[in-house]
Symmetry: C2
Subunit: 201 residues, 2 copies
């Protein structure tokens, strides 16, 4: 076989860090090589070009960011528990990968078609969640709210603090950075309750 898997993963690990921190244009191939403790020649030996490498990285990030958590969802059960489970699992995942949201949002804004293609080829779809929401509205379990907006609200509440951390610290926490982690700690419960209080009858 042509490549050493360890090395290849070492490179990818380094690349994801550097790309996430600096974006595509801000990233230097040399910086990736340095972080992976190899040289630039080997970097090009494994991944032909910056673009190729970046494409692999962003696919990995998108796949991590998007579909995994949906598996948590059990559309058969109680919608309130569903919300609690989703919010909890998603915020947990984001705390483990705090740079991913801004990375994706940033790079996806530069090239929106890429995301659309990725979503299509991965067969990703949330229609089953929308259907579940509509069913529970019809059954009178929750208030009448557009499923799209409920989904968007949920994602907004989960993701936004991670993309806007400096803003949150600066505006809401009066610059006291150390309070941010505590805020995130509370957030799993607060967000779930906020949503549930809003839609329950």
């Amino acid at each position: 076989m042509k490549y050493n898997k360890d090395t290849s993963e070492k490179i990818l690990d380094s690349a994801i860090d550097i790309f996430q921190e600096n974006g595509f244009n801000g990233t230097r191939m040399q910086a990736i090589a340095d972080k992976a403790k190899i040289n630039k020649s080997l970097l090009h030996y494994y991944f032909k070009s910056k673009d190729k490498l970046f494409q692999i990285i962003i696919e990995k990030a998108v796949k991590l960011f998007i579909p995994r958590v949906l598996k948590v969802i059990n559309v058969e059960g109680d919608i309130f528990q569903m919300i609690r489970d989703f919010v909890s699992a998603y915020i947990d995942m984001l705390r483990k990968n705090p740079h991913i949201p801004s990375f994706i949002i940033n790079e996806i804004n530069n090239n929106p078609e890429r995301l659309l293609k990725l979503l299509k080829t991965s067969g990703f779809n949330v229609d089953f969640v929308k259907v579940k929401i509509q069913e529970d509205i019809d059954k009178g379990i929750i208030r009448d709210i557009s499923p799209e907006h409920l989904l968007l609200n949920t994602l907004s509440l989960c993701i936004f603090p991670f993309v806007a951390k400096p803003m949150v610290v600066g505006i809401i926490l009066n610059g006291e950075e150390d309070k941010f982690e505590k805020l995130l700690d509370e957030r799993k419960k607060v967000v779930a309750n906020f949503i549930i209080d809003s839609i329950k009858i």
Copy 2:
């Protein structure tokens, strides 16, 4: 006097567009000059360097993005009306400047200290809103919720759709881009009601 105000503004207008679209690293001075229909020499004649120009642009963007809407808030009045007014005014402003949120979030992540400094020198502060929220909790007008989280939730719900437009289109709207504007249309009412339903007793 040394500078022609028209020219200087033509440059700033062009610069804000280009920077917003491409970020600091993705922006070429030549592109700004082209858009302003002047030449690169004149660009440096007006603004010494890319960094200087960028600093001016980001200050303008931050000042537009952050404090203006707070003036809408009348802390004397009904908190529910206050929420409706704020959400409505803020979403209106964002629709007029849809690229500002991702620009700020993106560049502020690259240099968080800059935002903190800007906020401090501008004397920006939201404590009076937090106090109002706490008062209304104590009076039993709204549910017990941390003022910080209520503020953060409100900002998340308003801003997130603008920074994550491609994601929203791809994931929630199944790629049907034309539905996005309609979603935004509905959002002023939906968000306000969502928050109010969540906190009212």
